[in-house]
């Protein structure tokens, strides 16, 4: 996730004299482990595989787990910080303002792609009848617009606080409350009961936080109906994304809390395509995205060097071949050559 304009943002905040969101819930109990909260202050999704043995990130993950098991008491200060950030989801001028404005391009992208592929268009409800899974839904920033467009959305997030914030926000709108269901948990946990249930899966600003990307893509493919669509938005792993996404956004401008992103976990589109092809999903579109911190708005660009959005379709073929050997150099080059078509 790219953010920017921290000084400007602070200036704006000072001018508007907005009060900081307080921990309004006052509930000390939280199913999410507080230490995980400590490391995940921004409230971003971290999807960890359930079994430690398959964790490929080695030492870093071990350290995290050590920390998590050593903490037993709930630190109210951390809880408050956590709650503070859970509140920030729906503050359009807060830490998640860039995610809010990303809706201006990602919602039309999803909507138009689905409409182009779909059959019946119901007036006023373009996504009516479409079942969508929003993986890593956070506070429901993307689930709600999709719900308003008529889709039945299931939002999942491993952090209880996020689910609570999302549930609370949708509760005031009876139409949305019916159309959207939020569940606390990881993608792996719902795979068994949701095989081939969803028409669309949306994983926006999620895969750069996932520990095991292969497993994640595999699970996505499993819960997706044949012919269903998968939408992913994430950050590329390039020098430019390091400079802008890590150095500027986190260290200099300080708009994204430090430690939110790790450059090592950024995913280049080529790798994503390789994994998708391996799970019988073919990539249809890859589009670059650019965030302008001055206007606070996103736009589509040709280059996928920083942020990008990807649309893949699961093949209608029921048989899913599991590829054990990686694609050859030649094939992966061909894959990247076909990418970059604009919507």
């Amino acid at each position: 996730m790219l953010g920017g304009g921290g000084t400007l943002r602070a200036f704006v905040r000072a001018l508007s004299g907005r009060r900081a969101a307080g921990g309004g819930h006052g509930e000390p109990s939280c199913r999410t482990h507080p230490a995980r909260a400590l490391l995940d202050r921004s409230g971003k999704v971290r999807l960890n595989p359930s079994s430690a043995a398959t964790d490929l990130n080695g030492s870093m993950a071990t350290v995290r787990r050590l920390l998590s098991t050593s903490q037993s008491s709930v630190d109210p200060k951390e809880m408050r910080k956590f709650q503070l950030l859970a509140h920030r989801w729906w503050d359009e001028q807060g830490e998640y303002s860039a995610l809010h404005s990303m809706n201006d391009i990602r919602v039309p992208f999803i909507r138009d792609t689905v409409l182009n592929m779909g059959s019946a268009y119901q007036r006023g409800s373009p996504l009516s009848g479409v079942k969508i899974l929003d993986v890593g839904c956070g506070g429901g920033l993307l689930s709600e617009p999709l719900g308003r467009l008529g889709a039945s959305v299931t939002g999942i997030d491993p952090l209880e606080e996020n689910i609570r914030a999302a549930d609370q926000h949708k509760s005031f709108d009876p139409v949305l409350a019916k159309r959207i269901q939020y569940k606390c948990g990881s993608l792996e946990e719902i795979v068994e009961e949701s095989v081939e249930t969803f028409d669309v899966i949306v994983a926006s600003e999620v895969v750069e936080h996932v520990a095991d990307l292969e497993m994640f893509i595999k699970c996505c493919s499993q819960v997706l109906k044949p012919g269903g669509s998968l939408f992913i938005t994430t950050i590329n792993k390039t020098q430019l994304s390091y400079i802008l996404g890590i150095v500027v956004a986190e260290k200099i401008a300080g708009i994204v809390p430090e430690g939110t992103h790790e450059w090592e976990k950024f995913v280049p589109p080529e790798e994503l395509e390789r994994l998708l092809e391996a799970n019988s999903c073919s990539v249809k579109t890859v589009n670059g995205m650019l965030y302008n911190p001055l206007t606070g708005s996103w736009s589509w660009i040709e280059s996928t060097s920083i942020n990008y959005a990807l649309h893949a379709v699961k093949s209608g073929d029921q048989a899913q071949t599991s590829q054990t050997e990686p694609l050859s150099e030649m094939e992966s080059e061909q894959c990247s050559a076909t990418a970059g078509t604009s919507v």
């Binding site: 001018l15 508007s16 729906w90 807060g94 909507r111 007036r123 006023g124 467009l149």
Partner: protein, 482 residues
């Protein structure tokens, strides 16, 4: 406006988000029905707003409510004309036809006009407007006819738009910007009979004394003119091809004759309060005489101005031989409809902000102008077209309808259009309210220059007003940026 712009740049939403913080209600609000849009005020502009949204394709699954304090009126076209008429511009006609109301207007009664003649009482200066291709410049329509047409179209979408007649909103509760816990994020509306509604977006179309604007504590720049408008339905001396709108600027205020049919015209005479009450009470013959002399008499001319005007005109004819005006003579009035004389006070107003979180103002609630340019309701219809466009796009993007993001875009677009026009109308009102020679000379030359230069004229014609060019021509004369 500069302040609003500056604020828009620096702290776009900070001050706007909290319209008027009040304690939010908890358990009571959950029972109140939730609407996507509530339009407060069922006049021409409010009803048209509700109808436009109701007919919009992206609002098919949305719930809209229209609150109107008055009772539902069944309209039957009377023989005589109503004394309240509006000049509908082609742009407004397009808006009305976008939800099917214009056909009803045409089926009932409307008078297109092809030409406008505007001239000064203190000089020979004259300006005429007409489209080269003889298209209609505008339409004179009775307000009741517009209302009836819009109401018919509202009935057509009754499943989406619920009209509450006899319902006056007495209180509004504003939501906190980023709501937490139990506070409702919606606007709470309390009606006089105790009913409550909730809405995601409240549109205030409740006239120049807007309650929505006052409750939202939006500052309003307003000014009562020292003028009242006298309206009446007049009968002409002889039937004529009545397709010209006439307006003459007298020192006391402009008098306008708007065509209703070949034998009838509507009068809008803006004049001082005293003169207005005189006109209202005098007998029919004197009234008719005053009107005729207002249009025909040259008592306000002065030799100096006439000479200066003639000199300028000959100078212009050197540059542009065909540039002098063809002066048509306005029709003379023979009779006035009984009971059709009425007076209403005039003023000017402009809200500093058109929008807040979950609130938008349109029509006279946002801006009020002098009728001299015939723009009042057209500005309102322009607001509707713009707001419907933005709300429709927001709905198609699944956005929260009350979000300031697109509301601010509506505000910027409309303020850019409205502010200069409103200022120009106000300036013209003041400029033409005097018989001081320098100012008369100024406006005389301005009018003549504008009339003589077709490209300039055509450019202004596109903006649907026949008064602004005078202002801008004067600006050219004095090398000011327009």
């Amino acid at each position: 406006m500069a302040a609003a712009c500056g604020r828009g740049l620096l702290a776009p939403l900070g001050g706007r988000l909290r319209a008027c913080p009040r304690a939010s209600l908890r358990s009571l609000t959950s029972a109140a029905p939730l609407y996507d849009v509530v339009v407060s005020g069922g006049g021409m502009v409010g009803s048209a707003m509700a109808a436009a949204l109701g007919h919009d394709i992206h609002f098919h699954d949305k719930k809209i409510a229209l609150l109107e304090a008055g009772p539902r009126k069944e309209y039957h076209l009377p023989e005589s004309y109503s004394n309240r008429v509006s000049s509908i511009s082609p742009g407004s006609a397009t808006l009305l036809s976008s939800f099917g109301a214009w056909d009803h207007v045409c089926n009932l009664r409307c008078k297109p006009f092809r030409r406008m003649q505007v001239w000064d009482a203190c000089s020979e200066a004259i300006i005429t407007f007409e489209k080269d291709d003889l298209d209609d410049m505008g339409y004179i329509v009775e307000n009741d006819v517009v209302m009836s047409a819009v109401t018919k179209q509202l009935d057509a979408v009754a499943d989406r738009v619920e009209v509450f007649y006899g319902s006056r909103a007495v209180g509004y509760t504003w939501p906190l910007p980023s709501h937490s816990c139990d506070t409702s994020p919606w606007v709470q509306v309390e009606l006089a009979d105790g009913r409550r509604l909730q809405t995601k977006l409240l549109i205030g179309a409740d006239g120049h004394n807007s309650v929505v604007r006052k409750e939202a504590e939006i500052q309003n720049i307003e000014h009562q003119y020292d003028q009242s408008a006298v309206v009446a339905t007049l009968h002409l001396s002889e039937a004529t091809d009545n397709n010209v709108a006439w307006q003459r600027f007298l020192p006391t205020g402009p008098i306008a004759l708007l065509p209703l049919s070949d034998t009838a015209s509507s009068l809008v005479w803006s004049t001082s309060h005293e003169h207005a009450s005189e006109l209202l009470t005098m007998d029919k013959e004197s009234f008719v005489d005053s009107i005729n002399s207002a249009f025909w008499s040259n008592v306000n001319h002065s030799d100096f101005i006439d000479a200066a005007g003639a000199m300028f005109r000959s100078a212009l004819s050197l540059l542009k031989p065909s540039g002098t005006a063809v002066r048509q003579l306005p029709p003379s009035v023979a009779n006035v409809d009984p009971e059709s004389r009425a007076v209403f006070p005039l003023g000017m107003g402009h809200a500093t902000e058109y929008v807040r979180h979950r609130v938008a103002l349109i029509g006279d609630a946002a801006h009020r102008v002098h009728p001299l340019a015939g723009q009042g309701v057209n500005l309102g219809f322009g607001d509707i077209a713009c707001l419907t466009h933005h709300l429709s796009a927001a709905a198609f993007n699944g956005q929260d309808l009350g979000s300031l993001k697109h509301l601010l875009r509506f505000e910027t677009e409309r303020q850019r259009h409205n502010v200069s026009l409103i200022a120009a109308i106000d300036l013209l009102k003041r400029l033409y309210s005097t018989s001081l020679s320098p100012l008369v000379l100024l406006r005389t030359w301005g009018l003549q220059a504008t009339n003589a230069l077709p490209p300039v004229k055509f450019f202004f014609l596109l903006k649907h007003t026949f008064i602004r060019p005078v202002h801008d021509a004067n600006a050219i004369l004095w090398n000011k940026k327009w």
